[in-house]
């Protein structure tokens, strides 16, 4: 069935994009609601038994997403520093030479 024929009863798949700040905000909401850290939540079966399955899934997913976003952030920072480092070194070189000249 073509998507257009389904519009009355279905919505197309939607995507939701979250930043690291969004994810950390959602994790903080869960931590505030249940009064425990994410680490405690992950290690506490008694707490999990009292929660709705969907909340457990969402909290675990936000934590997995946070780890991935932090990893990507770190990768990006590493690549950036790798590219700018030679430029910084080059820009420092004349200053060092000037300082040596001045010292002489």
């Amino acid at each position: 069935m073509a998507r257009s024929q389904l519009e009355e009863s279905m919505s197309p798949i939607t995507e939701r994009f979250l930043t690291l700040a969004d994810v950390e905000e959602q994790i903080a909401k869960f931590e505030g609601k249940y009064g425990v850290s994410t680490i405690e939540f992950l290690k506490n079966p008694a707490l999990r038994a009292e929660m709705y399955d969907d909340e457990i899934f969402q909290w675990e997913s936000y934590e997995a997403h946070r780890e991935e976003l932090a990893r990507l952030d770190e990768e990006l920072r590493g690549k950036y520093l790798h590219r700018v480092r030679p430029q910084i070194d080059q820009s420092l070189q004349p200053i060092q030479n000037n300082n040596l000249a001045l010292a002489a």
């Binding site: 069935m1 073509a2 998507r3 389904l6 009863s9 279905m10 919505s11 197309p12 798949i13 939607t14 995507e15 939701r16 994009f17 979250l18 038994a49 929660m51 709705y52 399955d53 969907d54 457990i56 899934f57 675990e60 997913s61 997995a64 997403h65 991935e68 976003l69 990507l72």
Partner: protein, 168 residues
């Protein structure tokens, strides 16, 4: 439903999901409480949720999370999945069916607290793969599950026949 492509990444998964979603025929008594929403984080990490309600009493909940394969950062796998069909007994603040593990269940296949297992007709026991013949639990995908529920409701065929398993 064609199998998920392998090796998997988000673009392949999304193309597979779009194709299957577009081919889905939603029954008249079914409302999507929450349409299929995917949260893509990277080509290797994403999650999704999907809620369907039938009439006023039964619902399907689909939840999946994909992540990097441990030790093989460029490969990913389905880390978590839960396909649930059963009676609505709780409603969350969001107006969705709130499921707790002690709630009644018609069928639920998940890997939430153990390797992929089956709940059939009641929350307990968990039927591990070794007790379930005719269906590879870990290979079931969300569209096959949802279509199976549609078929069961339309034909009244028992769920074990629809999904082709027996418990030993």
């Amino acid at each position: 439903v064609p199998p998920l492509p392998a090796p998997l990444d988000y673009s392949k998964f999304r193309a597979w999901a779009d194709k299957n979603y577009d081919n889905l025929k939603i029954p008249e008594d079914c409302v999507q409480l929450r349409p299929l929403v995917i949260t893509p984080v990277s080509p290797r990490v994403w999650s999704l949720e999907w809620w369907l309600q039938f009439g006023s009493d039964k619902y399907v909940r689909v939840a999946e999370r994909y992540g990097r394969f441990p030790g093989l950062a460029d490969l990913c796998r389905r880390d978590y999945f839960a396909y649930h069909y059963g009676q609505m007994v709780n409603v969350t603040d969001e107006g969705l069916a709130g499921f707790k593990s002690s709630d009644p269940v018609d069928i639920r296949i998940d890997n939430g607290c153990a390797p992929a297992h089956l709940h059939f007709g009641s929350p307990q026991p968990h039927h591990s793969q070794s007790a379930v013949k005719g269906l590879v639990l870990n290979e079931l995908d969300m569209f096959t599950f949802v279509k199976g529920i549609f078929h069961h409701r339309k034909t009244q065929k028992p769920l074990d026949e629809v999904f082709g398993f027996r418990i030993e």
